[in-house]
């Protein structure tokens, strides 16, 4: 019964007709139109999801806004009484609000018109406030662009005197001409990985970031395909879409920071940096913009923050503290509700939708690239090559969705320049002497080294003494030749010890990596986890390579159709059937929790407001 051993046998060797003419071949213009339509559909869904998120968010924010307004009004009227007309209007507004609240909390029947006004009173300020935050953040970062972090990464202009770099300049010019766009500025970074991306805010100030490794790895027609994808993406207006999407996450962070600002220094620092950045216009420092954007995205994450620290009673316990905690307890509900809400929507609703939206933009850019080069093969091969070893762009995490393929984090993309590679290859070849025949033969080919090295490391971790000896000799010969380069690697003895649980070795490793010069200026932020819109969502921002290649094949690329593994499909189906109900249940529980939190926050904040108002009235009455 060996017949079933190769269920996909017929697919691995496609016949000629399948190879050269897919049955339902599509023209790139049709593909572009289809993906544009898909973008519209998904962005409509995004707006819907944002609106859904907006309702509970508005329910939480609106009372706070009223609270701030009330406190200001009360404070003002302590000194110069406001006209009674103002207070009459205010109580009218609050009456409508109460109608809506009663209807919502106690299912009390209400007059439809009063209810409509009440709902508007409850929701509009919050919605307007959130929209203003989003628009403000969008505007603020459009002014300076997002290029700062990459520019700080020792990005440099390509040298026309070097053949490979000249070729890059030429290819970019050619593609810009083909697209009828102004040629974007090209910047090279000497990052270890092969990748390329775009940054900027509009086609006019777009910049192309290419890693030096990319132009070494790709042939001219592959390079054309890769550059055409990026230039097509610029021409399709993806930069603006990307700005708007990241502004959503940044606005969420800003919201959390604003809400936490009275309770902790961390949020205040973020706010202060942002205000300073947006007010001081003398230099639109793009690097500062990148830092601020990063801080904002981070502040919406579910981390320990000011509020937790504020209520954290460990250590000092005093009566004052517990009274303070009791008074400010409602804000805890508010904060948690907002954070849960933002997290839930960015992870399970708005985030995945944005991911899907971005997929359509990538397919569209692929189709545009085919329009520009009329050669689907170049791009397809480039994507396949890049995906074998996706290059990390150090410090480029915040914009990873603007890169050609998802920046990888593989450990074997280290040696940047040819001399280092050659030296490593020599050391590798020398290290085989103590090894036995069971070791893979050493080769001077760099690609082979980067394949073999992880294997050896695994063997060494597993306790293979010969592998460990080989690693040790490699490390010694590298550090003898170039100590600075060797500092980028962990000492193999430490690594092996750390694997066995040696704490001292672990701390040594932590100090040794990452090497600051390898990270450039981004090394300043190395203690912070990388943040990007990529991290907190169910659906990544990069479309899967398989789908992209399939679409390219429809456009005429000569790639073997990817064999579909039927067994894996069945397993996935069974798993999703089994786990689906639990995931659904968890989501429902989470939604319920959010609803309860929202209600609690609403009730507490309302009580709070009433108390504050009464206090002001008491303070004000003797003078009035």
């Amino acid at each position: 019964m060996r017949l079933n051993a190769h269920p996909t046998g017929e697919l691995t060797e496609p016949n000629a007709s399948q190879r050269f003419a897919p049955r339902d071949r599509e023209s790139f213009f049709a593909a572009q139109a289809r993906n544009r339509r898909a973008t519209w559909r998904i962005s409509a869904l995004c707006v819907l999801a944002a609106a859904l998120m907006g309702i509970p968010l508005a329910l939480i924010i609106t009372p706070l806004l009223y609270g701030v307004a009330l406190i200001i009004a009360d404070a003002v009227s302590l000194f110069s009484p406001l006209p009674p007309e103002f207070w009459r209007q205010a109580s009218e507004v609050s009456r409508f609000g109460r109608v809506a609240l009663d209807w919502l909390l106690q299912q009390k029947a209400a007059d439809p018109q009063a209810l409509a006004i009440g709902v508007a009173v409850m929701l509009l300020p919050g919605i307007l406030f959130s929209l203003a935050l989003w628009a403000g953040v969008n505007l603020m970062f459009r002014r300076s662009g997002t290029g700062g972090a990459v520019l700080a990464l020792r990005a440099r202009e390509p040298k026309p005197s070097e053949l490979k770099e000249l070729q890059l300049i030429d290819v970019v010019q050619e593609m810009a001409i083909a697209a009828g766009l102004p040629a974007p500025q090209v910047l090279l970074i000497d990052a270890p990985g092969a990748n390329a991306g775009i940054i900027g805010t509009s086609p006019e100030d777009a910049r192309l970031i290419v890693s030096r490794r990319l132009i070494e790895d790709l042939s001219r027609d592959e390079l054309e395909g890769a550059v055409a994808h990026l230039i097509g993406s610029i021409g399709n207006g993806d930069l603006r879409i990307s700005m708007r999407m990241t502004a959503v996450f940044e606005a969420c962070g800003l919201l959390v920071a604003v809400m936490n600002a009275p309770f902790g220094s961390q949020s205040r620092r973020i706010l202060w940096r942002m205000v300073r950045y947006s007010l001081i216009r003398r230099e639109a420092d793009p690097q500062e913009a990148a830092v601020v954007a990063d801080l904002l995205t981070r502040s919406a994450a579910l981390e320990v923050d000011d509020i937790d620290r504020f209520f954290d009673a460990t250590g000092k316990k005093s009566r004052m503290r517990s009274i303070r905690n009791f008074i400010f307890f409602p804000i805890f509900f508010t904060n948690t509700a907002v954070k849960l809400l933002l997290w839930f929507f960015s992870w399970a609703a708005l985030g995945p939708l944005m991911g899907l939206l971005w997929h359509t933009r990538q397919y569209l850019a692929d189709a545009s690239a085919v329009q520009l080069t009329r050669d689907p093969d170049g791009l397809a091969r480039a994507l396949q090559k890049l995906n074998e070893e996706p290059g990390e762009i150090p410090g480029g995490d915040w914009a990873s969705h603007l890169f050609l393929v998802r920046p990888g984090r593989s450990g074997n993309t280290f040696a940047t320049n040819p001399q280092q590679r050659q030296m490593l290859a020599q050391a590798w070849a020398a290290s085989t002497t103590p090894a036995s025949a069971s070791m893979p033969a050493a080769s001077s080919d760099f690609a082979a080294i980067s394949r073999q090295l992880p294997e050896i490391m695994h063997a060494a971790f597993a306790g293979d003494e010969r592998a460990a000896a080989r690693l040790r000799s490699l490390y010694q010969s590298v550090s003898a030749a170039d100590p600075e380069f060797a500092a980028q690697f962990p000492n193999p003895d430490d690594l092996i010890a750390a694997r066995k649980g040696d704490l001292e070795a672990m701390s040594r490793l932590r100090v040794a990596r990452p090497h600051p010069s390898a990270l450039g200026q981004a090394g300043k932020q190395k203690d912070q986890a990388p943040s990007s819109p990529e991290t907190p969502s169910l659906v990544g921002f990069h479309a899967s390579l398989k789908r992209r290649l399939k679409r390219l094949a429809l456009l005429g690329a000569h790639i073997d159709p990817v064999a579909r593994d039927r067994k894996a499909g069945i397993v996935i189906l069974a798993l999703s059937l089994l786990l689906g109900p639990f995931v659904l249940l968890a989501i429902l529980m989470l939604l319920l929790l959010i609803a309860v939190m929202t209600m609690a926050s609403l009730t507490f904040v309302t009580i709070w407001l009433a108390v504050i108002h009464k206090l002001f009235a008491l303070a004000g009455s003797p003078t009035a």
Binding site: D170, Q173, M175, I177, A178, A179, G180, Q371, R374
Partner: protein, 186 residues
């Protein structure tokens, strides 16, 4: 109260006017793109002329025996420049230039030392790129013309395009020889 015949009439008229303005502006933008694409081709032809003296200078020392090849390159370039804006003559000269340049690079394959010279490699890359750019500029021109023509000939825009003074542009078909016929009044 609000929805009375005059109000509806004014609203519809305003909407139609806005639509017409959008159509007109869209067509102007497309026409400008077509003209820009056309201009790109000339820019690239000029660029090729500028590169040739350098190439000949580099090659001269290595290819003593192939004097006739690079002399014909120089000559073709001179003719193309002399032709200036005389379209039929210019197109003929440009395609002759493409031909002899191809021959030059084919002959250069026989001179390993020459191919090893970095300056030659760079020049070869520049000229390859220029040929590519000319081809891409043509492709872009044709794409733009297609968009422009489709936009102005589909209903209901076709009712107004002629009225606004837009006429279909012609595609660039095939070889340089056709260029004379399409040197258009857009």
């Amino acid at each position: 109260m609000l929805i009375s015949p005059p109000v509806i009439g004014i609203t519809v008229a305003a909407l139609v006017l806005i639509w017409l303005i959008a159509v007109f502006n869209g067509l102007v933008a497309l026409r400008n793109r077509v003209q820009n694409a056309w201009a790109q081709m000339d820019v690239q032809l000029k660029r090729r002329h500028d590169l040739i003296p350098n190439l000949v200078e580099t090659v001269r020392g290595y290819m003593q025996h192939e004097r006739s090849v690079f002399e014909s390159v120089t000559e073709a370039r001179a003719q193309a420049i002399v032709a200036g804006n005389n379209i039929p003559a210019r197109t003929a000269a440009e395609s002759a230039l493409s031909g002899v340049l191809g021959k030059l690079f084919a002959v250069a394959e026989n001179y390993p030392q020459l191919r090893a010279v970095e300056n030659f490699q760079i020049l070869q890359e520049e000229l390859t790129s220029t040929e590519n750019r000319i081809a891409y500029a043509r492709q872009c021109y044709n794409d733009e013309v297609m968009k422009y023509n489709t936009t102005q000939s589909t209903f209901p825009r076709n009712l107004f395009a002629r009225l606004f003074g837009f006429s279909p542009a012609s595609m660039f078909a095939g070889t340089d020889a056709d260029r004379a016929e399409v040197y258009v009044k857009l």
